[in-house]
């Protein structure tokens, strides 16, 4: 709760810095704000469950842990906005404030206890992202990304809300625990079709937000058109918060066997489809940003396995699996997007050949991208390996062997497209003048990249640090 208040107040305060003529102060102030909020967030760790707004929000270890991931991701991502600091056209104070406000939405998503807060969280997160997707106002690709994201987002919010309304009609409440009680003991048996339709519509609505197939079609287009800095934010913060919200909904509102009969097959089908489309789609890409977009779809598939294999409690193996996976995924993805952004800004291209010879000109960038690609592919000694390991072992324990075999085959496919940037960087020579000149990197950026690489390796060597915290 402290973090929500701090983020809102400091976000408003941050706007006033926009009146200064120079943008130079904004980046350090933004990092300071995120660092302070990250520290304050952990005051609530192990304090037991605290309720706010008449029980509509609950802050417990689950929400503190996920808030921590989201804030840490934002903190290490912010240095990569350096280009905007020097750009007189960019309204950096507004961008930063919108990021802070959307983090408030993310925190609401990981701590809601009432469907109203779920709706508000999704909207606070999304409305800010619609604006940021279109922040490159004169670039038609950015415009297109903003319009697509906005129209699709508003459409699926409508579907989510219709699901909530039907659920309310069937159960008479928006409170997660009371929904759970009403589902187990239907108020009126004739209302159950309405309950199931409402549930399915809600799954579709949240499935869109985490870009699970078949509701993934917006992801590649939007990530490609959105300025890279904000695309990185979308693919990490929005996805982490979305999956935490998804898990809360399934565990706290629909644990009943009759409800599981509906959502388990649906989610299993979505999971298989997501893994297939994400991995096969990524193979065919020539732009790294589009490859990362498909990669983020495929990782939604691995996280869906954890939802399917959940064992009934928020403190269980499944929550830990999602927590660890989100952390490993966010850390690796921020580093990947960060390097891609730096290279794309300097060399004006986003295809694989733009990376040629990067190992010679910028060894740090090449090393950092290599670590993050290996982690995303799930190679041992990186965080991504244990992320997949925990999720797969939870799924095997609960009898989803076929699903795990399929996921393992798909992650072998993923090695192909994750190795392509590494080959370009280390095995190929620079093509021309632009690829032979080093890419400029600031101290904050190299610090963030080193921290991310260290975290990835640390998670891969000592997974116990995070694995059992919930």
């Amino acid at each position: 709760m402290n973090s929500i208040i701090l983020l809102s107040v400091l976000g408003l305060g941050n706007l006033f810095l926009g009146f200064r003529r120079s943008n130079r102060l904004l980046l350090p102030v933004m990092m300071l704000i995120l660092g302070v909020v990250l520290t304050v967030n952990f005051i609530d760790w192990n304090q037991g469950a605290q309720s706010f707004f008449n029980g509509m929000l609950t802050i417990d270890n689950f929400s503190v842990a996920f808030t921590g991931i989201v804030l840490l991701t934002a903190l290490v991502l912010v240095p990569f906005s350096q280009k905007y600091v020097l750009d007189g056209e960019a309204n950096l104070a507004e961008y930063y404030s919108l990021l802070l406000f959307s983090l408030v939405g993310a925190i609401m998503l990981v701590s809601y206890n009432h469907l109203l807060m779920l709706f508000l969280g999704i909207e606070i997160l999304s409305v800010a992202m619609y604006v940021l997707a279109g922040s490159d106002k004169r670039n038609l690709r950015s415009n297109e990304a903003a319009l697509k994201y906005f129209l699709m987002g508003a459409f699926f919010t409508g579907i989510l809300l219709f699901g909530m309304a039907l659920l309310y009609g069937a159960t008479g409440t928006f409170e997660l625990s009371q929904i759970s009680a009403a589902v187990q003991n239907p108020v009126n048996a004739s209302l159950t079709p309405m309950l199931y339709i409402g549930m399915l519509l809600m799954l579709i609505g949240i499935g869109f937000k985490v870009s699970a197939a078949p509701f993934h079609f917006w992801t590649p287009d939007v990530y490609e058109g959105t300025p890279t800095f904000f695309a990185a934010f979308m693919s990490t913060v929005v996805k982490t918060a979305g999956f935490a919200a998804f898990l809360k909904l399934l565990v706290q509102a629909f644990p009943a066997a009759s409800a599981q009969g509906i959502w388990l097959p649906t989610l299993t089908a979505m999971c298989v489809l997501t893994l297939l489309i994400g991995n096969v789609g990524a193979v065919a890409q020539t732009s790294i940003k589009r490859m990362l977009a498909y990669s983020s779809i495929s990782h939604a598939g691995y996280l869906l396995i954890a939802l399917v294999a959940y064992n009934g409690q928020l403190e269980g193996a499944s929550a830990n699996g999602i927590l660890f996976y989100s952390l490993a995924y966010s850390v690796a993805t921020v580093a990947a997007f960060g390097v891609v952004k730096l290279v794309a800004d300097a060399r004006m291209r986003e295809d694989y050949n733009g990376l040629n010879g990067l190992a010679k000109t910028n060894p740090l960038l090449a090393f950092s991208l290599t670590v993050s690609m290996l982690s995303l592919a799930g190679i041992p000694l990186t965080g991504g390996f244990f992320g997949k390991f925990f999720i797969f072992s939870a799924a095997v324990e609960n009898g989803y062997i076929g699903l795990v075999v399929f996921a393992v085959v798909m992650s072998m496919v993923s090695i192909y497209y994750y190795l392509r940037p590494i080959i370009a960087m280390y095995m190929r020579d620079a093509e021309d003048e632009t690829t032979a000149t080093p890419v400029p990197v600031t101290t904050f950026q190299s610090g963030a990249l080193l921290l991310l690489a260290a975290l990835t390796v640390l998670l891969g060597v000592l997974p116990g640090l995070v694995a059992g915290v919930l």
Partner: protein, 110 residues
């Protein structure tokens, strides 16, 4: 008027409200899927949200539970914020393209 509003709402059977809201929602969905003008698509999304509002109000009145009606206020407020952002995005596109046809937006493909 000696009747209060929930009683007036309850003079129509609940199923009628559900069917009405479902029809309104379906019209909105069909509009989003078939129309090509960004503003009309946007209006269809608003239609979907209003179908939700009708449904919530009806359920709320039938259950004598204010939760649903309060939810409607939140939906209205958020929809207003969405309109502000959405129209700004459409205006931005109109300035660049002199058009709001979504078929013109085909730069992002692989």
């Amino acid at each position: 008027m000696d009747q209060n509003i929930p009683q007036v709402i309850q003079t129509v059977p609940l199923q009628y409200y559900v069917f009405f809201a479902a029809a309104l929602f379906s019209i909105g969905v069909l509009g989003v899927l078939t129309r090509r003008n960004a503003i009309i698509i946007f209006m269809c999304v608003e239609l979907m949200l209003n179908a939700v509002n009708v449904l919530l109000t009806a359920f709320s009145a039938y259950r004598a539970d204010p939760n649903g009606q309060v939810f409607v206020f939140f939906i209205m407020a958020v929809a207003a914020a969405e309109v502000a952002v959405g129209l700004a995005i459409i205006v931005m596109i109109y300035r660049n393209l002199q058009n709001t046809d979504v078929n013109l937006l085909n730069r992002l493909k692989f």
